[in-house]
């Protein structure tokens, strides 16, 4: 009887509190001034992950939810050389990135991306990132706006080893696999970004295609063999692709703030902005990042 009463009370509380706690409202938000947005990346392993995506901010309730890509931009990435404390970029080394619509005519594999990805510029044939190398990004837009970005691909920190255990979990039909991998973090200050994708194909078409991400540094766990244990699990037989990168500090700050901005909801949401590492002329007209990834990759089949 007591148990039944308890259940009844609990059901009453939870049903009143949880079931009736949300409703749609009308809200008026004024028009805002548009800014350019740039997502640029270069890495040491996958040419298709070297791309620049240019778009605009749009008013909040504008019904256009497409990617809103910016066309007809001139986009160049130039590798540099470090001499002591100086970094030298030679314009003769610059590589032009081509709009995906044009590129698809040369690479049929990209054909399915046309339409979805106007505003994306890449050059998978010529552009390949190297460790310990600085890169410069130059963009000139049709309205004369110039956007400049810099990044350096640091040293690769490889995944040393991995292991997984399998067990039956309540409410899951398939046997679950729990994965851990290890890296060796050096004594220097390191910043990491990891993307994980559960799929048989190892090629990631854009960083957004991963299932989840982590951005972290070694402030607390420095200089030693460091494990990464995933709190979630995969089904037995899944193929897990781990894209593990070392990135620069400014790029770390950008992706850390991006993670906070992307998960910024609830009653205590902070109205913050991402920490961009690119600039523009005229100033304050661009948001975004140019990130160099010293990328290591592991594909693990959880047999």
């Amino acid at each position: 009887m007591i148990k039944k009463t308890t259940y009844l009370i609990l059901t009453l509380i939870t049903s009143t509190v949880i079931l009736s706690c949300e409703k749609e409202i009308e809200i008026s938000i004024p028009a805002s001034q548009s800014q350019y947005v740039v997502e640029a990346s270069i890495n040491t392993r996958f040419p298709f992950l070297n791309y620049v995506f240019i778009t605009n901010t749009v008013d909040y309730f504008k019904p256009d939810l497409s990617l809103n890509g910016v066309k007809n931009a001139l986009v160049f990435i130039t590798p540099g050389i470090i001499f002591g404390s100086d970094t030298i970029f030679n314009d003769t080394d610059r590589i032009q990135l081509i709009a995906i619509d044009t590129l698809a005519k040369l690479i049929p594999a990209l054909d399915s991306l046309i339409g979805s990805f106007s505003g994306v510029y890449m050059n998978p044939i010529l552009l390949q990132g190297k460790e310990n190398t600085p890169y410069r990004l130059d963009i000139t837009l049709m309205d004369g706006t110039k956007i400049l970005g810099r990044t350096t691909i640091p040293k690769i920190v490889p995944i040393d080893s991995f292991s997984y255990r399998k067990e039956k979990v309540i409410n899951r039909k398939e046997i679950q696999a729990f994965l851990t991998f290890w890296i060796t973090d050096g004594p220097e200050k390191n910043n990491y970004r990891m993307a994980v994708r559960n799929y048989t194909d190892s090629i990631l078409y854009g960083w957004g295609a991963a299932d989840f991400y982590r951005t972290f540094d070694d402030e607390l766990l420095n200089n030693g063999v460091r494990p990464f244990m995933f709190s979630n699990s995969w089904d037995e037989g899944d193929t897990v692709n781990i894209y593990f990168s070392q990135i620069g500090r400014k790029e770390f700050l950008f992706w850390q703030s991006f993670g906070q901005a992307a998960n910024n909801g609830g009653p205590f949401a902070t109205p913050g902005s991402v920490k961009s590492n690119i600039t523009s002329h005229p100033s304050n007209s661009v948001i975004g990042s140019f990130t160099g990834y010293a990328l290591d990759f592991k594909q693990i089949i959880l047999k």
Partner: protein
């Protein structure tokens, strides 16, 4: 200004001592005859002299200095029979008095119908008291009465939000309220992430809130003092009482250790949410749960006619465990809580000089234990205080009462200690502890200049000294250590802030029913709460002032008109205030507060301004009582680094705020309460634009994927919908005998099911090409019941 106040004070002191030789003093304790509890704020009036009136202090002690002669003293207190005592004052006289609650037939010299007029005659303004009995009778959520929620029903005090115990006084922040429980500072007054306060109403005698005109014996916070006094325990008989609510129960035992000499009180409370939820959890998550508990303890000894000793303590914890239902290797244990111990000694040197001396230990700590397979981490943070203080009250003569004292606190801040292991890496990291001495001396004079004018002038001198040992690491603009460190040896001063705080309250009595009061205060605050949310959370950190973090500063000017009606049955007041604040603190967006040695560089510093008008009409006695309060106010902030340097509305700026609290006693068994609140919606920052980022192509679904990121513009430029709701409650006394008393409290929170905003979020629907706004609200119409008993 400061010099003038000081001169006035010195003059009044000298003036009074010169004319005090022909006077004698009658003094003593004022107590409840039914249980021996001291009565705070009771009125003691000399019937032969209209202007000779005083009030019992926080410890129930009163003192009146009068010329030699025969007098009749009237002792009165709301809810009690007044008592008239005749004395022939030819020498200093100790007169301890007990008065009876109105339900007990009074003996001999009791009369009925006298009302208090403290609000008219006292030099205090912007001060409100509320009894724990009143708090218990108000409608509540889940059957849990709460002091902090009750005080937000008073004008000038704003709630932190739906269901929140956070409160904001006259435009100040939540850390600008000094919350004291039996004189010990409560650094985090909330349980259950802010939904309930740490104060168990069964252990509480009364609550006093000072929101302006702060007297010189208080300091250390800019906005308010919340003084929570614990009960002392029945010194006449053993008594047990408690209550059973929907989510928590409480039990209190009290009684005499030696009748009329000493007593004890022990009170506990625990939630059972963890037990209620457990049957619904999957087997592997049975280790998950949340609960909190409180323990209050108090003992007092009457050592003699002149000495009383009190020992009181509080210990409370919130514990949250999480055991992953999917991964048995993942376990998380998170807890926080306050503990405090107070030893208090009241001593009467003579009938004119009373002292209160306390030694207080205070500890707030937070712990997190994480287990991820073979990796284990433990992080701890907190704050410890050792505090000694002495307050003296000297009745010089009929017109002057001098109060003086000192207060010294040694603070130890523990921003973070981490330990554990992960792979081959062993963590043993400790953020440098921070130490500070906070010392204050004060003196104040309550001076009745003539029949119409009286003044309460005070001066508080404060010395805050942040000391070593401490190591400060230098960080570059990217938040990484440069390797440069500055070290301070033990005791070496890092930042020294001497400050003077003048306080002035002036009262002009127009007639027996009305007066005008005004006040000026200058206050400094040396401890700051690092928080990025509006509510106070357990993981928020307290920080001391440093070379970079300057003390917060506020001036407050207030003026009020006070008017009583119908033989003091009704109290009315209108108060206006103007409060500029300096060195206010905010954090940069996305700052990491937890375990961050570079926290100071995450801060920005700016100004605040708050002003408003408060109206209160209150009926204190009779079958039908309650109050209606209305506040019109404005609160803003200005930071160079935020909102392009432009002034913006403070998050808890509330232009209009109305509260109506009505109580009616139908008969000896039934009584009812009605509460209505209305407040302008909170200022909030909403996104004005968005963009797509982190693009990709999903080969499985054959479609593009990306993440929308919001772009924000002006800070707090939007308003949430207005907040309003009505609550009702009824108390039914099912049995009341000499030996056993039981009652039921039935509450309906939000009777007309108003959907009050908790927060707003937006949801883009890519398939339908539209963005919708949704408002989340916490509590719809919510009935609750609790059973209370006493034997």
């Amino acid at each position: 200004m400061r010099t003038k106040v000081f001169n006035l004070f010195v003059f009044s002191f000298l003036f009074s001592t010169a004319f005090s030789q022909q006077n004698f003093t009658v003094s003593g304790d004022l107590k409840d005859s039914s249980n021996g509890e001291t009565l705070i704020g009771a009125t003691i009036r000399v019937l032969e002299s209209k202007n000779s009136v005083t009030w019992s202090n926080q410890y129930g002690f009163y003192s009146l200095t009068l010329p030699i002669g025969e007098y009749t003293l009237m002792y009165s207190y709301t809810g009690f029979e007044s008592k008239r005592v005749s004395i022939n004052l030819t020498k200093n006289t100790l007169l301890n008095i007990q008065i009876s609650p109105k339900i007990i037939f009074a003996k001999e010299l009791t009369i009925k119908g006298e009302r208090e007029d403290k609000n008219i005659r006292s030099t205090e303004m912007s001060r409100i008291e509320i009894s724990s009995e009143k708090v218990k009778s108000l409608p509540v959520i889940f059957g849990e009465p709460d002091i902090l929620k009750a005080i937000t029903l008073l004008p000038g005090i704003k709630s932190g939000g739906e269901g929140s115990t956070g409160f904001y006084v006259r435009g100040g922040g939540p850390d600008q309220n000094l919350i004291l429980m039996d004189e010990a500072v409560v650094y985090n007054p909330s349980h259950l992430f802010g939904f309930l306060s740490v104060f168990n109403t069964d252990a509480i005698k009364n609550v006093e809130l000072i929101k302006g005109g702060m007297p010189a014996n208080y300091g250390g916070r800019l906005s308010s003092i919340l003084n929570v006094n614990m009960r002392e325990g029945n010194n006449q008989k053993y008594q047990f009482n408690g209550g059973i609510g929907l989510i928590a129960s409480r039990f209190t035992a009290e009684g005499p250790i030696k009748k009329n000499k000493s007593s004890f009180l022990l009170s506990g409370r625990r939630t059972y949410i963890d037990y209620l939820v457990k049957p619904f959890l999957p087997e592997q998550a049975k280790g998950s749960g949340y609960y909190f508990y409180d323990l209050n303890f108090k003992m007092n000894y009457i050592l003699g006619q002149k000495d009383k000793l009190f020992v009181s303590g509080y210990f409370g914890r919130d514990i949250f465990n999480f055991s992953s239902p999917i991964n048995k290797d993942v376990f998380f244990n998170f807890g926080w809580g306050n503990s405090s111990a107070t030893i208090r000694w009241n001593h009467i040197f003579n009938s004119r000089l009373f002292s209160n001396t306390c030694v207080i230990y205070n500890d707030y700590n937070l712990f997190n234990d994480f287990t991820f397979g073979n990796s284990k981490f433990s992080v701890r943070s907190g704050l410890k205080d050792w505090n000694i203080k002495s307050d003296f009250s000297l009745n010089l003569n009929q017109k002057h009462r001098i109060m003086f004292g000192f207060n010294y606190t040694f603070h130890t801040f523990i921003p973070g200690v981490a330990s554990g292991n992960a792979g081959t890496i062993t963590i043993n990291e400790e953020l440098s502890k921070q130490y500070a001495h906070e010392s204050a001396v004060y003196i104040l004079d309550e001076w009745q200049i003539n029949q119409r004018w009286s003044v309460n002038a005070g001066l508080r001198g404060v010395l805050f000294n942040r000391v070593g040992p401490y190591t400060l690491s230098q960080y570059d603009d990217n938040g990484q250590k440069t390797g440069v460190e500055t070290k301070w040896e033990s005791g070496e001063s890092i930042a020294l802030y001497p400050r003077l705080e003048p306080r002035l309250n002036l009262t002009y009595i127009i007639n027996d029913q009305s007066s005008i009061k005004s006040s000026y205060t200058l206050t400094y605050q040396f401890l700051h709460l690092a928080t990025t949310s509006g509510a106070q959370f357990p993981f928020d950190l307290w920080l001391p002032s440093s070379a970079k973090i300057r003390p917060q500063e506020a001036q407050q000017y207030a003026i009020g008109y006070f008017r009583n009606l119908d033989n003091n049955s009704y109290e009315g007041s209108v108060e206006a205030y103007y409060k500029p604040m300096l060195n206010q603190i905010e954090f940069k967006p996305f700052s990491r507060l937890f375990f961050n040695a570079n926290l100071e560089n995450e801060m920005v510093f700016g100004k605040g301004l708050s002003y408003g008008l408060e109206f209160l009409l209150r009926k204190k006695v009779g079958r039908f009582n309650g109050w209606i309060g209305y506040t019109w106010s404005k609160a803003t902030r200005q930071f160079d680094e935020l909102n392009n340097g432009q002034e913006y509305y403070y998050r808890y700026d509330r232009t209009h705020d109305i509260s109506v609290v009505l109580s009616y006693k139908f008969n000896d068994k039934w009584s009812g309460n009605f509460v209505f609140v209305f407040g302008t919606g909170n200022a909030t920052t909403l996104p004005v634009a968005r963009y797509a980022y982190r693009i990709g192509f999903d080969q499985k679904e054959n479609k593009p994927i990306f993440t929308f990121i919001d772009v924000y513009d002006k800070v707090n430029s939007f308003r949430l919908p207005d907040y309003h709701r009505a609550d009702i409650s009824a108390t039914y006394i099912s049995k009341k005998t000499q030996k056993w008393e039981s009652s039921w409290n039935f509450s309906i929170y939000n009777v007309y099911n108003r959907a009050n905003p908790y927060f707003i979020y937006f949801l883009p629907d890519i398939d339908k090409l539209e963005v919708k706004a949704y408002m989340v609200y916490l509590f719809p119409i919510l009935p609750s019941v609790s059973w209370n008993f006493k034997f």
